[in-house]
Symmetry: C2
Subunit: 340 residues, 2 copies
């Protein structure tokens, strides 16, 4: 167990390093107001903290740098909840004030705010689209050959896809089919759409239109979009401003990861309620081992949920960032609650 003095020193060292990105020496610590002891005493304590694995040296005569274990301890035990500044709060309030009604906008804006306020990169995972249910299907003919299928879900999400109209099918038949589909598919989760189409709808179409084979295959093509859960990214270039990423290779490999939407989505999906912090090697990807990832879930009033995350160097302003992400995820949840 650490003594109070050790706790204090560890905290001051990590705070300092987070601010300056420079290894922290005993003398600079001893000069701080909250520290009353001499540099020699600090040196002794630092040696102990290093032995315990909370601090590291970059070389034998350098100052100390927090280890991952140090950060972990800092996050778990040394973080005093921070009141956000007025400026930060108003930025958030302001953004949510003008009643945005689209989910996408809210999320995009949130990602923007988050990266702007923190100078890190924000990543927001949209809610699992495939769980949303079909509200309405519309087909808008553009001309004789093509039409647009528009799909509205109960969350107000809109997907659309253009497709060719087979020449054998005229407008009245198309309309008939759309009516059938709306009758039968309303309320069906998107993920079940295909299945339902296979089992129930085929027969119905067969009865009502003569060109059923043809119509069916075109319908399939029109409806079977990927329904992929979307990733919203803000401040991707903020990574470049962090001194730990002055090496371009690191930047590149980190970008490579971020761009792998599926893997990022899986990573973000995994967490439970509340704010979570993944430090360095706690992240699964090699390129993220100098990074920390802060995540929080938000919900959409119904059972659906998404994740809001912030990616930065392990030397991260945990205090502020955690408060921010906490406030923002709650604000998002709050905003969405009214909708559904």
């Amino acid at each position: 167990m650490l003594t109070d003095r050790q706790l204090l020193i560890l905290q001051v060292i990590i705070d300092d390093f987070i601010l300056t990105a420079q290894p922290v020496g005993s003398r600079s610590i001893s000069k701080k107001d909250e520290i009353t002891h001499s540099s020699a005493t600090i040196r002794n304590e630092m040696a102990d903290l290093e032995e315990l694995g909370f601090l590291e040296k970059t070389h034998s005569s350098s100052g100390r740098v927090p280890s991952e274990k140090g950060y972990r301890f800092y996050v778990d035990h040394l973080l005093s909840p921070l009141r956000l500044s007025n400026q930060e709060l108003t930025t958030i309030r302001q953004a949510f004030k003008d009643r945005m009604m689209e989910f996408e906008r809210v999320v995009q804006k949130s990602a923007g705010i988050l990266s702007e306020l923190t100078n890190y990169t924000s990543i927001i995972l949209g809610p699992e689209i495939f769980e949303t249910k079909l509200k309405q299907l519309q087909i808008v003919p553009l001309n004789d050959q093509s039409a647009i299928a528009i799909l509205v879900t109960d969350t107000g999400h809109v997907e659309h896809r253009a497709f060719n109209i087979p020449v054998e099918i005229d407008h009245s038949q198309l309309e008939k089919m759309v009516n059938i589909l709306n009758d039968r598919l309303r309320g069906v989760p998107l993920v079940k759409l295909y299945e339902k189409l296979q089992t129930e709808i085929y027969d119905l179409i067969e009865i009502h239109t003569d060109q059923h084979e043809h119509a069916y295959s075109y319908l399939q093509a029109a409806l079977l979009d990927e329904h992929q859960t979307k990733l919203y990214i803000g401040g991707k270039t903020n990574i470049l401003m962090q001194p730990e990423f002055k090496d371009l290779d690191k930047v590149r490999s980190l970008y490579a990861i971020i761009e792998k939407e599926n893997e990022m989505a899986d990573l973000l999906r995994s967490d439970e309620q509340g704010v979570h912090v993944r430090i360095g090697h706690e992240n699964p990807f090699d390129a993220m081992q100098n990074c920390s990832l802060i995540t929080a879930r938000y919900t959409l009033g119904n059972e659906q949920a998404g994740t809001i995350a912030l990616l930065g160097p392990t030397r991260m302003e945990y205090n502020r960032v955690i408060s921010l992400i906490n406030v923002l995820s709650k604000q998002m949840t709050e905003t969405f609650r009214g909708w559904y």
Copy 2:
């Protein structure tokens, strides 16, 4: 006027520099197969070419580097049309083979291909949306308080916006209004929508619904999206791979420009038909003075057009890039022609 030998030497020097990014010395040129003269002769010619402003030195005893004037001359007079490799052609063909029907997809994919094949950053300006005409307006009620307005244009572009339904208006009234709007607004260019709403529609609504004031203001909010012309960017991080951008400050300032959508859009909008090359200071922005921008217009069958562009260092593979962008813009035009 330049002699044939000077032309040859200039070409060889620029070709070499584009390949290696290193200042080119007289000896390395004299060793090339196509050059039969000694390094001393080359040196004399190089001195002349420098005096004429086509070449520069980085310092008094360095090899030569093309000046902007040199690149300009190279692009205007020394470029032999290049046959694209089979690999490049198949990449493009492949991408356009699976019949994508949405404009957005085609453009997004094109941006991807272009940046992938060139390792530069591709920027595609969508067609001027506000010139497209309204095809159909739909309103899908989500629940008692909210609905989604969906707007389909004649080009198959879909925009949607959620809005609150005023409590005073019930579904049948809403439906009536939508019918009126569709009758009156079909075929109206998006840019005129607002105007038309002001002048013609207001009276109509007044006649048909009792809650016209209320309904009207909500309609306005629902319909008046920004209709902004979109910018599609591919391979933004490719900039990092160019040796001329190992200085992060340059990268940052370039990113800053690219992210200013409006200014980029204006820049891309300006060009006429055909492939255009802007070298270094021919670009308006400070951050782009080490860059060249290659642009070409594509059209949508009707009168509408957009721009496809490629941004890289002035030391650019002009030959290949120009061919590529040429082929791709034609392919896009070709693809769209069938649609409208």
